[in-house]
Symmetry: D2
Subunit: 341 residues, 4 copies
């Protein structure tokens, strides 16, 4: 099977895995107190050009969203997200599990815009009954978004300004941040993101790690006793080193960015081929996820040879599917896929 | 001020209050074990023509929704409601507080239709990723709805059928059930509701009681140790008699229905007057809540004389307002309001 | 049956009920925005000699404990209580329902002592693993305690000092505060309590009201948007007036204190009679709850004539029971009980 | 530093790590749908001699306890545990986070005994107020216990019988199950545990894996849609293979048991040396955790050369410490430690 279902179907990048092998027998303290976790944090501070960023490592993306959002919200607050946001649909109600509502804003290409956020907040303030409603408490975005689109610098700066004018922290889910930053359409740097966002995470699971995301608080805004808080939520690994070691490898010699670039190059080759072959793009994505509409007979045939993702039913005879490249996709695999399409 | 802001601005119907006075010094067990609570339950079983209905009394509507929904949902399930549903907006996130998501269905005149529910369930089943999504676990409706509209018997029967075919309990919020049942457009009886719904509540707070709602489980489907469960949620009064005594009074000599009829008669008189005067009805409501659009200058003037409810901003110069009659509204008050409009 | 099971077996004191009758038809805003709620708050500020106390009304004691504690705790914090504390046993896990642990301290006559609290805190700080434990976040006491005992001024001052030295708010559950303050052994005033505690409540349900407790925040320490927060928890009555009106009556002409005094006088008469008859007091209680040990044959006989409370099994032939007086107990009832004992 | 602080200070057993390397580039579905997870489950079914056991993999012990307990409890139920139970102290309130109380039973050498459990249940049933209390819903034990002691077959059988007679599932935390099973004092087999327990887990994190625990439901008693439920709680890894691959390695050629035996052999050597040198054993532990009391001056000296764990303060000049061996401890390290003692 050609592996285009997602960007987490293989293990770790060989250099990441080698780092685990190399450090394996070094005895270290548990629960994130090991030297590797500290070094990884320093690597990320450097990459963000923010020496006083506070960095924590969590094992998965859903868990990171859950832990960050719930600990930054006050009791009666909810999280604002685009209606297509990952936390609103595909995380099994993990935000509500923590007692908080996901408040939705109409997305524009999957993004929360400054204008739509401002409109939401204006409506909320103007509603004389808002004391009986969930208060907006944090803004959640993802970059790349759930549908592979990107925030540009102007959009992120404008959104950040609205957030801060309204005392709302801005949180970026960066599960696919590497793929976003390496897109030909991207104009944001990691320091830009650290500047505009109050907290964000750099995704490892989908970008070359076995598991692990690096959460970065950028404004001296870490919740008090945060490790105890996320331990209580089940999100602390005994062997925190597992993630620390991997992030050291990912942030050595720009590995994170190089392997993201590789995935993007292949995604752009695939996208061009899809266009050439006349496929309807469901979304014009500049990142590693490509969405097309296929008829169901073709889909059935493709599924015998290609691992791909169902996206949504279009009509009784057509389905939208997702094809994803990753750090591990080979050019041969892309060529084979193109030949099948 | 003329009191048209809501249907809970005065105390209790005089007969209800008198019942509290009459029983005041009778010593009774606490926590709903008193004889009045038992008698009230019997009155409601009789009114529903369902002798084995299981009846509980809770002090308010939000609390009842919270307690019923959360105890009927399995861990990963959510509650389906119309997008305009009360629990989705004006209950301060009380469902999410219990760890569950409100899943919204496009409402038709504020109602969940059998067709829209079926479409939601079909989509959910067809989505190959639904294992990563909140599962539908109960259907919440209100009658009258948040915007004063009614389910007719055909609609409720059809909805009930879809619910039961999909093993979903159907829960009706009857905060304004008296006003629904007495509407000229209503064709449902209390026994009909007991037949089609798995659980519903008969609202007291808005229909003549100081506080209290009667929850009716109709299908031998009470959660195990339900009183302990809702006690744990803070919803059990030490003096459960407070609600029991009131419901005895409300269900003696058809008081509940007579005082509801009174409110509906006045609402219809008001509605006709509003039409005669050329007001734009925001919604064509057959119950005790009437919604009109007024210009903001007129609104400012009205507010000096009338207690009314902001509903929503229409545009920069117009606002939708709500005018509500109740068991306690007098014909003089309605006439005075009409004179001001 | 002679009513000695508890202090909430009858309705409201006649003057309280009359106040409800007198104000019944006055239309007022809902959700605690009515004038009676405001007046009641002022009455309580005056009684506490604390004009800037912030006062809220909640319908029951368990709910008040739940709402106050959960909104004053940070995510990873728990509430410290005596091991015999009401919240630890008889509230059905209502604190844990909000996600927080009850941390227990060995009680001394049902009380948290300054020394035992300090010892707990010292141990916690000295434990090198305390980052993996629930952090102490608030101290819960009740006065009178679960077993009828009292804090004296010296004890409360000492406890308050330890709390404040450790940045822990001190919360007093005053479900039976009237009975505590009127005990012959009491040396605390309401202003003392307002001085030493950060938040406390004045119980109405057990002292003459149908339902309702007055929560007093004494140090400008109300959680932000507290009403929205407790609405979300199901604890806000639509007709907030119900509680406000009753507290106005209770705090007019010292009614609250007079009716508490009445209950204490009868309890002391009962206690003396129990001693004279040679009963073993389980606890030497100076308030309205008296605890004795009886043999099970006598208990069976008593239960035919007296409503009383099971307290605990002592051995196979003896049971501890609780006998409670209240604002509504009559001298005839006490005499009749004594004659039976 | 000599690594005796815990059993999770190093990475993975070399064979476990090699298995990750060998399978690294094989593309597999995510979220536990991969072939390795299935194979690992079969290995565990075989080891338990229970072909229809239902097996799931979770990344850590605290998270496993949280996920299993919360999904097996009904709303108003709590989990029974020994007062010294891990979930009661060192998991940061993770059970309470899910809304449930930890109900404690006096432990005997860290164990819940059948007699003490029966006594708890008898008291609970005899308490006439138990409807206002948390109901017992599941029994949690750990083997080896928090203090290194073991359940023998007779004890476990008796406990299981009391559980089942009372309709309480019995859950064994097996974070250190390998070390328990290889103890010279053990008489339980994995099939015995599968027989007596309703659910248990086989710990990987402390026994040779980077992360991961295998949860085994033995009585066709998996909660409905369990994977969605634990995903919602943040406990599902995208690359479920990470754990599956490791457990295949651990359960190939008895690796799990061999490496556990190694740790036990070294622990027994250490224990004998401690006895020979006259140390006071805090607990007589037959497993890989040894507890001794040292004076604080010696402790300060030891800490310069040995990574060890603080256990508890004994008095102002003595401290109890824990010394732990693991799969990765070498005989040289034990000898070096003994030389220092």
């Amino acid at each position: 099977m050609l592996p285009f279902a997602n960007d987490y179907s293989r293990g770790a990048h060989p250099k990441v895995l080698q780092a685990l092998v190399d450090t394996n027998m070094d005895a270290q303290p548990g629960y994130g107190q090991d030297k590797y976790t500290k070094q990884a944090a320093q690597k990320i501070q450097a990459a963000c050009q923010l020496p006083d960023a506070e960095v924590f490592f969590i094992s998965g993306g859903l868990q990171t969203n859950q832990v960050v959002i719930s600990n930054l919200l006050d009791g009666d607050e909810g999280v604002l997200a685009a209606d297509s946001g990952h936390i609103n649909f595909h995380e099994a109600g993990s935000i509500e599990y923590t007692g908080h509502k996901v408040l939705t804003i109409p997305g524009v290409e999957g993004k929360v815009t400054a204008a739509n956020l401002q409109a939401y907040l204006d409506d909320w303030k103007a509603d004389e009954n808002h004391g009986q409603m969930v208060a907006p408490g944090i803004v959640y975005i993802s970059n790349a978004t759930e549908i592979g689109t990107l925030y540009n610098k102007q959009e992120l700066a404008a959104l950040s300004q609205v957030c801060h004018a309204n005392h709302l922290p801005l949180f970026m889910d960066g599960a696919r941040l590497g793929y976003a930053l390496m897109s030909p359409e991207n104009d944001l740097s990691l320091p830009d993101i650290a500047k505009y966002c109050d907290v964000f995470y750099i995704g490892g699971t989908k970008v070359g790690a076995l598991a692990g995301e690096a959460v970065v608080f950028t404004k001296h805004n870490v919740p008090k006793r945060f490790p105890t808080k996320f331990k209580r939520q089940g999100a602390m690994l005994a062997k925190g080193r597992l993630i620390g070691v991997q992030f050291i490898a990912l942030f050595t010699d720009n590995l994170y960015f190089k392997i993201s670039q590789h995935a993007i190059d292949l995604a752009m080759k695939l996208k061009q081929a899809l266009k050439n072959k006349g496929y309807q793009l469901l979304i014009d994505s500049p990142t590693n996820q490509q969405f097309i509409v296929v008829d169901n007979d073709q889909l059935a045939a493709l599924k015998k040879r290609v691992a791909l993702s169902f996206w949504e039913n279009i009509d009784s005879t057509h389905t939208a599917i997702r094809l994803v490249t990753s750090w591990s996709t080979t050019e041969d695999e892309v060529d084979a896929l193109i030949a099948l399409l």
